[in-house]
Amino acid sequence: MSREVVAENISRIEGLLNFTMIIKDHEVIDARAEALEGVRLLERLLVGKKYHEIPEIASRMCGVCQAIHKVTAVQAVENAFNIELPEEINMLRKLIVIGGHLQSHLLHLYMFVLPDFLGYHSILEMLPSHAELIRKVMYLRKLANVITELIGGRAVHPVTPIVGGLSKLPSENALRRALDYAKEFKNTIYTVLEDILSIDMPSFERRTNYVSLKGEHEFPLLGGNVSINSEVIFKPAEYEDYIKFVTVEYSTARHYVLKKIGREYMVGALARVNNNFKLLSDTTKELIKTYSLQFPSYRPFDNNKAQALELLHFVEEAIYILERLKGNIPRKRKASFKVNEGKGISITEAPRGLLIHHYEINNQGLVEKANIITPTAQNYKCMEADVKDYITRLIQTSDKKWDIKFEAEKLIRAYDPCVSCSARFLRQH
């Protein structure tokens, strides 16, 4: 006899997700990630739109990681028009994106994950006993948002990144303030990282394939080649040879596998750190030592810890960039370009992992085809495999009566799924 356990409307993740496990004779024989959200047919809506409208509509894919969606969409269009940008413009865009990554990681780690390990249902329940910590987290989120706002014009859905450059350059004063905020962020984050890094998380281990951008000299964010387990390396333009989508009957979201081996893979902070840990900042590497972490790690719960490390690494990168930009603001905010027929692909690292935007634009500058592959959609198959294995091991190796639903939710939350952005379906040809 088999029984079905369903974790319904999993809370403290972005979007709606049900997770079903079929359990038979002390084994999870099937696990299914079922995205429930009303299908957002953004790709379909993009067809026929003017190229400059793409970033506006595409960034509405997700309200948490909108900054990276916007910049990735802009870069993809620039790729189609062969626009090359001065390094300083890319650095400014990086700052906008880093602010977004920091606020996203904070939201996930302290508001969504922490209650799991401290025995609370929500951050509101934690308020009376952890007021100081929560106030600090709110403060940190504000600092991160201000960094994005000072350079991007707005914290949620920043407005300055446009095709060809930026619509407005920050003043020297804005950059100075951003630097102050970044330094303040660094000082403050030091006092709360322990709350995440010292948590005794389940040591469950299952080796899978880790896919991320691969940095050459710096930890990757907005460009570069893609790497599978630091072994296979491919160019963004070749992604369709390596990544394949599979539609599943039970979900409105697309699922993805590695094309050549037909197997699941993981994207996100853990994949990023696994493939690039040598490129983390020195202080971040010290933290790895202090808390006896090891990379590459095959423990999915370590995605939480990898995000915590990135909080420090990324803010240090922001400080580095801001110091380099002192007195070096580019004079030109926008490159001139011609609209032409073309295919544009941009692959970046969103807070939740590898993000692919691909547009085909005609000579009128209108979108003919759009393909957007979000991190969460790529992670579903891996989440399913992990839950299957993790819950089976819990059932088999322990006499304890486990709350299976809660354990599965905890593991799924470690992936930081963002369902509204993965729940698109239609591919327009």
Binding site: S11, L16, G38, R40, G63, Q66, V156, S420
Partner: protein, 229 residues
């Protein structure tokens, strides 16, 4: 109070979470339902229901009607809830797209809340503006009538002493778009994309005239929008 998300990017909710004043607002209300924050208490009635997102399925329509049944005051949060995200996407003449993909996915539609239920207050924008939302919450918590601003974005843009983008030949929707955003986009040097919907008494014909006079391309959706008024 309950906070609910239908189909949306949840960015408006993130705007709320980003508000420094959030903890203060939460001190003054009993939040009984919010999936994103993991709050789910037992309750019968709600004084205030905040709903973000558009209605894209029959299930969402049912859920919305249930929320309305329980709530004294229902607030539509953001362009998806207020206008079915039409002002962001600008497909004004398309109501449904027929798909034949599977049983679950045969029609695509995106409707505002007030197509199905009575909405008491609208907080516009994609995303909502924090100051505007805070004004709304203060007014509503104090039992006052919240009124979104009725004038256009230009009114706020002029106060910021920005140079007019139309003069630079940029396709800006400021003249016909509802203000209340403190002219965020034009102040960052780029066109208003119209995300807060139409200002009261907005004159679309006149904007088309201005575009023509200044040699700015007139987008097709402006003509569709004229039919909607």
């Amino acid at each position: 109070m309950g906070i609910f998300s239908l189909s949306s990017c949840e960015g408006c909710l993130v705007q709320l979470l980003n508000m420094e004043e959030l903890l203060e607002v939460l001190n003054n209300v009993d939040l009984v339902d919010c999936r994103l924050l993991g709050v789910k208490k037992n309750y019968e009635k709600l004084n205030i229901a905040i709903v973000e997102g558009a209605v894209m399925s029959d299930e969402e329509e049912r859920e919305l009607k249930e929320i309305r049944e329980r709530a004294d005051i229902l607030i539509a949060l953001g362009d998806c809830a207020c206008n079915g995200s039409k002002f962001l996407v600008k497909d004004f003449n398309i109501n449904e797209i027929k798909l034949n993909l599977s049983r679950r996915l045969n029609v695509f539609k995106s409707h505002p809340l007030d197509k199905f239920v009575k909405v008491d207050y609208y907080i516009y924008g994609c995303p909502i503006d924090q100051e505007d939302a805070l004004t709304a919450f203060k007014d509503i918590l104090m039992g006052k009538e919240y009124r979104p601003v009725s004038y256009n974005v230009c009114a706020e843009c002029i106060l910021k002493e920005n140079a007019c983008l139309l003069d630079k030949g940029i396709q800006c929707l400021g003249p016909i778009t509802r203000g209340g955003c403190r002219a965020t986009c034009p102040s960052a040097g780029r066109e208003c994309i119209g995300c807060r919907g139409l200002a009261e008494d907005s004159n679309i014909d006149s904007l088309i005239e201005i575009y023509k006079r200044k040699g700015i391309e007139v987008p097709n959706y402006l003509r569709d929008l004229r039919g909607m008024k």
